[in-house]
């Protein structure tokens, strides 16, 4: 039915949109399945519906700015690979940095089917471990954590906090990773500090006014202010 030939290949062919649409529909169904299941479970164990609903709103608001940045990645890759493949890769398991590196094994814009499927295969193979390893190790890791928590609850809490702080510390360092370049390398550092200062001010405002809604939207607000501040900072230093 969809049998075409290599001469009819186009990186934006409607059939490619159809394939990507089917895959994304399945992934979307998975997200909805886990959302409904977790919500029902939360209600069952006595969690407040308000907390669960607020979590959904917070997660949705939080996602907007980073998701727009992912969309920028699709636009950037679409010149080389068309829209469907970057759309698929950045909607699911991929990341912009990896997809860009993998796409660059082919010099210039991809126009023939052989180069296209080869680049798509390289992108796919690089994520094999990320796709299958969590399915094998997920249960063992979670059970190990449960066991550790049941033995020593206090250490279990510190362990979880340490995991997150380990990640945050690495990204703190990453922000300073370009300072050796001179002026332009300080742009992310200043953006980081703008966001940090805005968060501190939000905390202060919350303390003074007791407006709890500030707490809900402080981080998305910091992200947006930080991103916007990058424009004048780049004009000054870039």
């Amino acid at each position: 039915m969809f049998q075409l030939n290599a001469a009819q290949f186009d990186t934006n062919s409607p059939v490619l949109y159809l394939i990507v649409g089917i895959i994304l529909a399945v992934v979307l169904a998975q997200a909805v399945f886990f959302l409904v299941r977790a919500y029902r479970r939360g209600v069952k164990i006595g969690m407040s519906k308000e907390v669960l609903t607020k979590t959904m709103v917070r997660a949705g608001v939080f996602t907007i700015a980073p998701a727009v940045a992912i969309l920028v990645g699709i636009v950037a890759l679409s010149q080389k690979l068309g829209i469907p493949l970057p759309w698929l890769r950045l909607s699911v398991i991929g990341s912009f940095s990896y997809e860009t590196i993998a796409a660059n094994i082919f010099k210039g814009n991809v126009t023939d089917a052989t180069a296209y499927v080869t680049v798509a295969l390289v992108m796919t193979c690089g994520m094999l471990v990320s796709m299958f390893l969590p399915l094998i190790t997920g249960k063992k890791i979670q059970r190990g954590l449960m066991k550790m928590r049941s033995k020593d609850k206090k250490w279990g809490e510190i362990f979880m906090t340490a995991l997150f702080l380990g990640m945050i510390s690495a990204f703190l360092g990453y922000v300073f990773g370009g300072v050796g370049e001179g002026g332009s390398g300080w742009i992310p550092v200043l953006v980081f500090f703008v966001s940090a200062v805005v968060m501190a001010l939000c905390g202060l405002l919350l303390k003074v006014t007791k407006w709890r809604w500030i707490n809900d939207y402080a981080l998305p607000f910091c992200i947006i202010v930080g991103m916007v501040s990058a424009v004048p900072i780049t004009m000054l230093l870039g």
Binding site: V117, L121, G126, D216
Partner: protein, 248 residues
């Protein structure tokens, strides 16, 4: 076969099924394209990407062991399918858990994490669908050189706000890894005279940061600097299983 009694058992069961289906579908894309267009693989070109594949497989393994404990069971199965972990899903889950006031590692945290990652995945997909539909209108905006820095600086903007919250609350645990990471990235940047290395380093330094934080925290905990040791859970919490039975 062992019956799947608890909610957690079922989460792993469904997570594996959904994960496997999604992985096979994602994996099938190049092969379906080959079949449709009658194309074959350029093995020479593929071989030129072999080192990239190996590198990212290693990164994938490291990310699995780093992020799985943070995301909980449901969040892990969903997060690893929908991707964008460090730049979206993990910070989103962390922020939602903090805002909901749940204790990390508990079933409440598992539920909040799963809900936040699910909603984040759905919202991301909807934004991307909308963006793809409107791409011809959006491309000039996104490619505008004046606005480009805003989209290039999502990570500093995201982690700036997060760092204030988490480092101020846990400064004792934070000092050692933060100082170490700053030294590593700043020295590497001055040594190479560029920021190119940072993009590669971050994949390795996240697990290094996690290990350093865990080891230093353990030492401080044993010395009694982080609170009392060995607060054993006296009694397992009693919560109803998904099928309505009581579970201990």
């Amino acid at each position: 076969m062992k019956p799947l009694g608890s909610f957690d058992d079922k989460t792993h069961f469904y997570g594996r099924i959904w994960g496997l289906v999604a992985a096979l579908l994602i994996l099938s894309y190049p092969f379906v394209c080959m079949a449709i267009f009658g194309a074959s693989i350029d093995w020479k070109l593929f071989a030129s990407g072999a080192s990239i594949i190996v590198l990212y497989c290693v990164v994938g393994a490291v990310e699995t062991f780093t992020y799985t404990p943070m995301l909980g069971s449901g969040g892990t199965y969903l997060g690893f399918v929908t991707g964008n972990l460090s730049n979206l899903k993990v910070p989103c889950a962390l922020n939602c858990m903090e805002q909901a006031g749940v204790e990390k590692g508990t079933e409440e945290a598992e539920i909040i994490s799963t809900i936040s990652i699910a909603v984040s995945s759905i919202v991301t997909m909807l934004i991307l669908v909308l963006g793809v539909v409107l791409i011809s209108f959006l491309t000039p905006v996104f490619e505008n050189p004046t606005l480009a820095p805003a989209f290039d600086n999502v990570l500093p903007a995201l982690f700036g706000g997060m760092a204030v919250v988490y480092i101020s609350k846990n400064w004792k645990i934070s000092v050692i890894p933060c100082v170490l990471m700053l030294l590593v990235f700043i020295i590497s940047s001055y040594a190479t005279g560029s920021g190119d290395l940072a993009g590669t380093l971050i994949g390795v330094m996240v697990p290094v940061g996690v290990i350093v934080t865990l080891v230093s925290s353990r030492i401080m905990y044993k010395k009694g600097w982080l609170g009392e040791m060995g607060t054993t859970q006296e009694k397992a919490e009693t919560v109803p299983a998904e099928d309505g039975e009581e579970k201990k």
